[in-house]
């Protein structure tokens, strides 16, 4: 009986300790990043794997390094890449990427013999339809080259 009473008093004390902890957190600053007003620091973003993008070519940034060898297409577990060889030479004519099927596994990046593919760091990519996530990477490369020049 006495032991039970002491136990209960100890238990009440543990409840007070708990209240003091949550009380302290009540008054301490918030921890969340409130997205549209604040964004997380860019160094945290540098390692983020976003959707794929093509690496700009060396002399001409609008040209891809891709040689249309189809290694990435064969390696991809989700079948999300479509690469078609152009009429002239090795450079691709169509480079389509279905982000809805992609699992960001890096099979294509690591199988590419010329290092033509890399992950972008676009964390805020949103789309309102599936079709908007069927990305034309060659077109992206060209438009981004136009913007920088």
């Amino acid at each position: 009986m006495l032991k039970a009473i002491i136990d209960n008093i100890k238990g009440l004390y543990s409840l007070l300790v708990g209240l003091s902890i949550t009380g302290r957190f009540l008054l301490s600053p918030r921890q969340t990043v409130h997205y549209p007003r604040k964004v997380i620091e860019p160094e945290n973003m540098a390692s983020y794997r976003g959707p794929l993008e093509l690496v700009p070519g060396d002399p001409d940034p609008a040209q891809s390094r891709c040689i249309s060898c189809q290694m990435c297409v064969r390696a991809c577990p989700g079948h999300c890449l479509t690469v078609t060889k152009g009429a002239s030479g090795k450079s691709p004519e169509v480079w389509l990427y279905d982000f809805t099927l992609c699992c960001l596994c890096a099979a294509c990046v690591e199988s590419c013999p010329t290092g033509a593919i890399r992950f972008s760091h676009k964390v805020y990519l949103v789309a309102d339809s599936r079709e908007a996530l069927h990305l034309d990477l060659l077109g992206q490369l060209k438009s981004s080259a136009k913007q920088t020049s």
Partner: protein, 397 residues
């Protein structure tokens, strides 16, 4: 409840069938006693962590029988393993158990390396240990929060997520993703640790130790939690042996069995760390074992960081995504956050494996729930379910 007749204002008498429900409810109801309620907990229920469904037979608030029904999150990973090359199957491993993906990474990569006879550079082995242990901590943190939430305390899970976010920040530096990580490669890992990675871990270890003290004061010592968990759902060595339970459940039963110590894989044999076991085999014992495992993981990370060697992170001729496995069989087990994770790989020398069998610890651990929950209160059954640390995608595969 089933035998009640209700009258609606339109005067239509409604006479429910004695047993209504789908195949599993009917199958379960065959053994039901008189005057009991058959209750479906789930697949959408706040404390079944995803889409587990448990059919329970209640006498008042007491559970007479319970039967988990699986398969609501079944994705047939075994079949996917047979139609994909081992490399292509690798990203699947992050999806099997989203809380401890790196252990599954390791199990699959280890099985392939065992079969193909691939060795791993030492730096990669150390990075594997560091990332796996960090991931184990984050998994235990989520379990801790979710378990206390099952018991009605809503706040701790958000504190646990603060730490988990920090771990995700660290793991993102090397793995590139925050949830379904696919970090390991056959013969190494895919990215090297940089200075920021090491610096963040060095800051994180003392921070988490401080927070663990807060966890103890806020939750572990809390009288309500202790009375909810002590002497609830004892699972002794006998039941663990019969059901094949592994991980914290087995260790709480008093047996210090840990694959990291028993069958050292990677470089675990180089580190000194205790295997927490006991003191009691009830829910509170399992709770304590998991919290002490966080400290163990911190110890291992500390040792690994201080002795991280230089060198390559992947062997020079690493297998390409389209490599072929030699014929043979391998069974590789690692210690996941929930128990022994194993991949059984059989290959006939073709492009894809002949058979991939994933051994999920949660599957065996959940199978003993029916026996452990018998005769407990409904609230205790929920506590037992939470203390098993279930991740349903892993159970269903």
């Amino acid at each position: 409840m089933d035998r009640l007749n209700f009258i609606n204002p339109f005067g239509v008498r409604y006479q429910p069938d004695m047993v209504s429900g789908d195949f599993y409810t009917k199958n379960f109801a065959k053994g039901a006693a008189e005057n009991t309620i058959i209750l479906n907990l789930g697949p959408q229920h706040p404390s079944t962590h995803g889409v587990l469904r448990v059919i329970v037979e209640l006498d008042g608030e007491y559970v007479i029988r319970a039967e988990p029904v699986l398969g609501y999150l079944h994705r047939m990973h075994d079949k996917m393993g047979e139609v994909k090359t081992p490399w292509q199957f690798l990203p699947n491993m992050g999806r099997v158990d989203y809380l401890h993906p790196i252990a599954w990474n390791w199990a699959h990569v280890g099985a392939v390396e065992m079969l193909a006879g691939i060795s791993v550079p030492e730096r990669a082995e150390y990075l594997r240990v560091i990332s796996c242990e960090l991931n184990r901590i984050s998994s235990h943190l989520v379990w801790w929060g979710a378990f206390v939430m099952d018991l009605g305390g809503v706040t701790p899970i958000l504190y646990a997520f603060e730490e988990r976010e920090k771990i995700n920040d660290i793991l993102q530096i090397v793995t590139g993703s925050r949830l379904t990580m696919s970090y390991f490669r056959f013969g190494g890992v895919c990215a090297d640790a940089d200075d920021r990675f090491l610096k963040l871990i060095e800051q994180f270890i003392p921070y988490l130790r401080k927070r663990l003290k807060m966890y103890k004061a806020l939750v572990t010592d809390n009288v309500i939690l202790r009375r909810r968990l002590e002497n609830v759902g004892p699972m002794g060595l006998d039941i663990c042996q019969r059901y094949g339970a592994t991980g914290p459940i087995l260790r709480a039963a008093g047996l210090a069995k840990d694959t990291r110590r028993d069958i050292p894989y990677g470089v675990y044999s180089k580190f000194a760390f205790p295997i927490p076991s006991g003191p009691t085999d009830d829910c509170y014992g399992r709770y304590l074992v998991r919290l002490r495992e966080i400290e163990t993981s911190l110890l291992i990370i500390e040792q690994a960081i201080s002795s991280l060697p230089d060198g390559p992170i992947v062997i020079p001729k690493a297998p390409k995504p389209t490599f072929k496995l030699p014929a043979g069989e391998s069974y590789f087990a690692v210690e996941g956050a929930r128990g022994q994770v194993a991949v059984h790989l059989v290959s006939d020398g073709g492009k894809t494996p002949y058979r991939v069998k994933l051994r999920a610890p949660g599957f065996s651990n959940l199978s003993l729930f029916a026996e452990a929950a018998r005769g407990t209160l409904l609230a205790d059954a929920i506590a037992i379910l939470g203390s098993l640390d279930l991740v349903i995608p892993e159970v269903d595969r």
